[in-house]
Symmetry: C3
Subunit: 230 residues, 3 copies
């Protein structure tokens, strides 16, 4: 490191610092709220004009499909790793928070929360926060899988992708809970940009975990994988 010119070293220190700060950000509750709002708005957008009627006639189905989308990453990763599928319901504060967000998005007076989340600057901030949370989830997915299966790159990559892009993959199931069945619109068929980015980030992080090809400091790798996702 000492061999580098002064300017580059400064840059690297700034980068290291930014990566470290992002890595140690507390997700709960602000980033979680942003994630829940965007996820539940997606459910609502999917219902389109029937959202008002549906949320009043089938509140259970509406709540269940919103929860499925909010915690899709955990459901999918737990299913793949053979852990209890129901585990996300253990974290009472997360469920409560998501339920409050769900209530506000669907039933707030004058549709305030939903309309506010569609205002461009608000939407941008929410999206950035959501993507930061996504990067956080991918990193944790890869780490968790690496603990269970230390030398299985493919498992680590798949779990990382599942953690990051779970909501896209579980969308087919979520639509089924709402009585909608669109088998020819699944994520494997037409992966969105987010899914592809999660795949790339998972590959980078998994290679770094097994420290074969990448030897940069972890915080910089984390930063790079965030840039992939953006």
């Amino acid at each position: 490191m000492g061999m580098w010119p002064e300017g580059l070293q400064m840059d690297q220190e700034i980068l290291l610092d930014a990566g470290a700060q992002l890595h140690r950000l507390k997700m709960f509750p602000y980033f979680d709220i942003a994630h829940y709002i965007l996820m539940i708005c997606e459910v609502r957008d999917d219902l389109a004009s029937s959202a008002g009627l549906f949320s009043r006639k089938h509140p259970l189905s509406c709540w269940l499909s919103s929860m499925l989308m909010c915690f899709a990453d955990s459901f999918l990763a737990n299913f793949l790793l053979g852990e209890p599928v129901i585990a996300p319901f253990k974290r009472h504060d997360d469920i409560l928070l998501a339920t409050i967000v769900w209530y506000l998005v669907f039933y707030a007076p004058f549709d305030g929360v939903y309309k506010l989340s569609k205002v461009l600057p608000v939407k941008c901030v929410l999206s950035v926060m959501k993507e930061v949370k996504r990067a956080y989830k991918v990193t944790h997915g890869v780490s968790h899988a690496a603990k269970l299966y230390p030398s299985s790159y493919i498992v680590q990559i798949l779990v990382g992708t599942a953690k990051g892009a779970g909501s896209g993959i579980l969308k087919t199931v979520e639509q089924l809970v709402r009585g909608v069945w669109l088998p020819n619109h699944n994520e494997a068929l037409r992966p969105t940009f987010a899914t592809k980015a999660c795949l790339v980030a998972s590959i980078i992080l998994s290679l770094e975990k097994n420290s074969v090809y990448i030897t940069a400091p972890h915080d910089i790798v984390y930063l790079v994988s965030i840039f992939c996702i953006f």
Copy 2:
């Protein structure tokens, strides 16, 4: 208790006694038989006029979907809790009993068993027995989940509901085994009364397990949760 007037105390003792007796009822084999008969009749009713032909042309599919309905509660609870899905097939006597009932309902001479189960007084007795078994299953579901996740009310409530109303929730899968796909008729969309009752009973039992709000004797709580289900 000593402060209560004589009459009330008598009443409470009768209630306690009734609750205790119901709680300690042996389910196997009479209540199980009632449950199996009604479940398999439901599969047969769902097949409507094609039941005769279907059960002769596709016996494997017919048997599998009957078993799925008979043990739906265990399949669903095991799936949610990350336990082996195949576990219900370990209990040989249950499977044998359900298979005998399945054979009699579908292939008995003169359709005797099926027609008998549709006679009103018989049907009433069977239904009462089935509901007693349902209450029993809800209690056991909540207890089992409480052992695994001591302070997670939501998990306990969901597992209790899954145990009580499993057949309704798995109906979509059961129909798929029979080659029928009705995505817009699921339990989350239009919960039946049984599902709602199981949800209420699960909430009562879960609150009692964590003994925060309910301090009545367990047998009375059990009795109340049975009344919810009826």
Copy 3:
């Protein structure tokens, strides 16, 4: 054995020897390659005339559904036994081999590999190798289940069948990954001959494991169960 006439004893020794040799055959890589080629050709046949376009437009979906078919037995058995569904992805060499086969079947120049596998003598050899591998999987499924559930015949039979006929049962899921949904073409509805043979072989092997009715040497039982499958 000493009481048998000379000729019969010779025959039995030949049989024992053949069974033992088949039992101890190394599956990797030749038998595995045969299995992968036939499985992926099946996926390609299912796509029919759209195979060329589909494999170029949706490579992820194509790869995922090919892997699902190649490792269907493990996915299904792991799901039933409550083990991690993702476990087959731990074996890097198997996944790599299957991926290479997938690439060659779908993208080889002049469609060489696919067309070669359709030539009758080649197809016969591949099919025989695949069936030997199937018998091997059924035996291992029954043994594995017998280790976990020593006295549960039904579980052993079901896991054995799932191991042998997994690809048929998972076909509905595999088609879903490709955006095709054919609920009325499932294996429970119209079991193929392979599924029935796996069921019979599983029953024979399970009875032998619990050594109640069958006391012949294991290698002969293995040979008999292979003949069932052929």
